[in-house]
Amino acid sequence: MEKKDHILYDKTGNPSKEPAWIFRTYAGHTNAKESNELFRKNLAKGQTGLSIAFDLPTQCGYSSDHAIAKPEIGKVGVPINTLEDFRILFDQIPIEEMNTSMTINGTSMWLLSLYVALAEERGEDVSKLQGTTQNDIIKEYLARGTYIFPPEHSIRIIVDMYEYCLKRIPKWNPSNICSYHLQEAGATPVQELAFALATGMAILDAVKERNCFTHEEFEQCVGRISFFVNAGIRFIEEMCKMRAFSDMWEEITKGIYQVKSEKFRRFRYGVQVNSLGLTEEQPENNAWRILIEALGVTLSRDARCRALQLPAWNEALSLPRPWDQQWSLRLQQVLAYETDLLEYPDLFEGSRVVESKVKDLVENANKEIQKIKEMGGAIKAIENGYMKAQLVKSQAERLAKINNDELIIVGKNKWKDGIPSPLTNDPDGGIFKVDPKSAEQTLKVLSDVKARRDAKKVAETLARLEDDAKNGKNLMFASVECAKALVTTGEWADTLRKIFGEYRPSTGVEGQKLNLESDKVSNVRTKVEKFQKATGARPKIVVGKPGLDGHSNGAEMIAVSAKHAGFDVIYSGIRLTPEEIVQSAVEENANVIGVSILSGSHVELAEQIFAELKHYKADIPVVFGGIIPQPDFEKLHSIGVKAIFTPKDYDLMDVMDRIIDIVSEKIPASV
């Protein structure tokens, strides 16, 4: 029978249809019990895999009863302290049948150990476990901030996991190269390609260097590397980016790493579509953006993702409600089951336009990879600050373009007038809030576990972990033992912190400039000059990023903009305590403190900052920026916050204008 180009045939030659990708929603909040209910509801709605979001203390290796953890418990994900929390989280969920993705990096070994311990406890065949621990530490240093240890030790932990998984849980992906956050931090498609692939090579090099595998086993390791990619609004370019990824990974695995098996060379990837481009203004437009972005990674069969998770339309406002997540899941189901998308062979094969665009991306990404190689690879390019600085530069350029109206964002800098969205009219304001009392339950489970566990066994397993860390042994075995002994997340991480130390990377903002010259800029600079004339000094701002939320793009952009406006700027990177930020502002005698928070802990952190200012008897004005819902404004103002900026305030010079006005209020009238 004659075969037709537009029909998809299976291996036996019969017309067929592609199976759909795995549908996931990135979910988890409040505590293990609530998250367990959410997971079970989502699976009942037709979700086909789990993607677990952990709260920031869990990601950064702190137990919920640590002081730094308190404001963050259960905010952006589920808190996990001990095996007991995993027992609750997976109650009535057959983990041996699940494909579980865990967005966890610094503590990925610990969470995998808990998962293994749970499976063993339930008497399941551990080798059947399927899923992924994200475990891409490089992008944490660059964009997301939940790293713990210095790069070399982090890489060692990843290699330990490869070694362990290959033999014991062969279907587990021990790490997943995640370029998602690079795009969120401003990466261009070329940077996303180059940085992600360079990261892949760094991991493969480290695995090779360990020299613990035969070549066949090494090939299997290569086959376990998967990618987690972002899909932005320029969906044709994004589709070409995915094709470029496949081509380049093939070239790298075949050429450099001599992988013979075609199966192990395949570029396997999951996608979360872009949240960076979602707007707080006219948030209903985000629904269309999400659909278009999803097309970029599903339209072309040869570059279709294996798993997809879509953000909710209201993510720029605050945490989405279960209904909002359901709406996103339904979009995937409409796309996969109602349309004919899965019935065709690749639509773009042979397209001259697509081929040429892919070629262009590949060429430029290869040039960038070459540069990184000449520096000594991805780890070196992190340590010397190169990659971070490149991202901050791209982000500054992108924002300058939005501010100059060169880049159109509908509803934000163009067609701004509109009817208010009825979607946000619900009494809950269209957003989800974690019940502040829910942390009590987490803390209770933790203290109960601590009270009834065998203290001697805890000490013994932790001592073994410490020894193994010192002696270069594979840490997975000791970690699983720790999990079974009911060791806490904080105890596990602290033991390794003692041996490996903690890391502070480059902020990437030094030497950056903003390509923005407009009337607004000169207006602000005039005010800055006036301030300087009146007081004899430039205005000084301390830009602070308190707590465990590592999403530093906002803080970086404010730091760069303030310098551009003529401020003296003190910015010391992420994960500072309110005490440290206030101490900087006091010692520097700053005129204003600008605080950036995206994790939803703004009220708690504001209280801590003002308490500390009171300690020093310092009357320094404080402004806040971040994803802060309108209903919280009054509370923040009552604590003393002078101004609040949200994603709506995208015009950098408008922000600086308000800040210089606040700073100038303190110039004495006599001047």
């Binding site: 010397n384 502070r504 480059s506 902020t507 903002v509 030094e510 030497g511 950056q512 400039k513 600079r525 800055v528 009146a534 007081t535 004899g536 000094a537 430039r538 730091a559 760069v560 303030a562 310098k563 551009h564 406006a565 003529g566 401020f567 003296d568 700027v569 003190i570 910015y571 010391s572 990177g573 305590t577 005490e579 440290e580 101490q583 900087s584 006091v586 010692e587 520097e588 005698n589 300690h615 020093y616 008897k617 310092a618 004495p668 001047v671």
Partner: protein
Amino acid sequence: MTVRFAEKELKELIQEASQGEKYPLAKLISELEKPDSFEFRKVLFKELENSGFNGDKSVTIGFTGTPGAGKSSLLGEISTNFLQNVPDKKMAVVAIDPSSHISGGSLLGDRTRLSLPVREKRIFFRSQPSQLELGGLNPYTYHVIRLLRCFFDFIFVETVGIGQNEIEVSKLADLSFLVMVPLGGDQIQFMKSGIMEVPDAFILNKCDEENLARASYHTLSTTLEFLRDIVPGGSIPPIFLTSVKTKKGIQELLDFVLKSKPHPKRSSETKVQIEKWIKTEYGNFGLSFSEKLGNNTQKNYEEWENFFNSEIRSKLK
């Protein structure tokens, strides 16, 4: 025009600053950093003297070197070590970063690499933009250091850059270090430019790897041998090999700093700084008056400044 402090308030600020209160000290520094601080300085330093704070026993340590030599991280390590092991002394750090030539603003990033304890009164950290001044120092750095000397036993001044001008910090430091990295390859260039003669000691930082460190040490010490020709009979300055990563050499470096003494004649430093000020204000014309500096060492900086201002201005009329 700017806010000055009433006499009582100033006394209070000084008292509180001397007890390690950070905010009062920060306010005093800010006043010194203003361009028209002359009157304030006169009052402040008089008041300090009357209260028994002269800073004569304090040691100033200059840290200079190319960007990326790891000066801030090294200072961070020294501070940690200092706070742990030198319980009865206090230290301050002044870190100077370049300003933007376009907006005049600056990004002061040095706190990034220092993890300082909070509410610790034995240490004080202050950033300073260079204010486009060549020489790595800010025009007011000198006065800020004079103030800090009154309250702290050790003042570390960190400047970026490595040229004839940037070594300026050595003129107000009792002990100045040039911080380099192994195999920077710059050693010979330094010698040519005469910079090698200036520092009291050298630091090869980032010596994480032993062989590379040894090799660089030998290159540097051989280069320094040439100094014997310039300063016959002079001894070769010490070289420290340090690594923040492995904590190598930190203790030795700190011991060396702790042993060093303040310059016996602060008046000669005042002379150098007043000459620098005259040159900035009145150029070479002004400098011709500086021979009047003579041997009178009784005058403090502000008195000299006042004297030359009226002297030179009277000739300008």
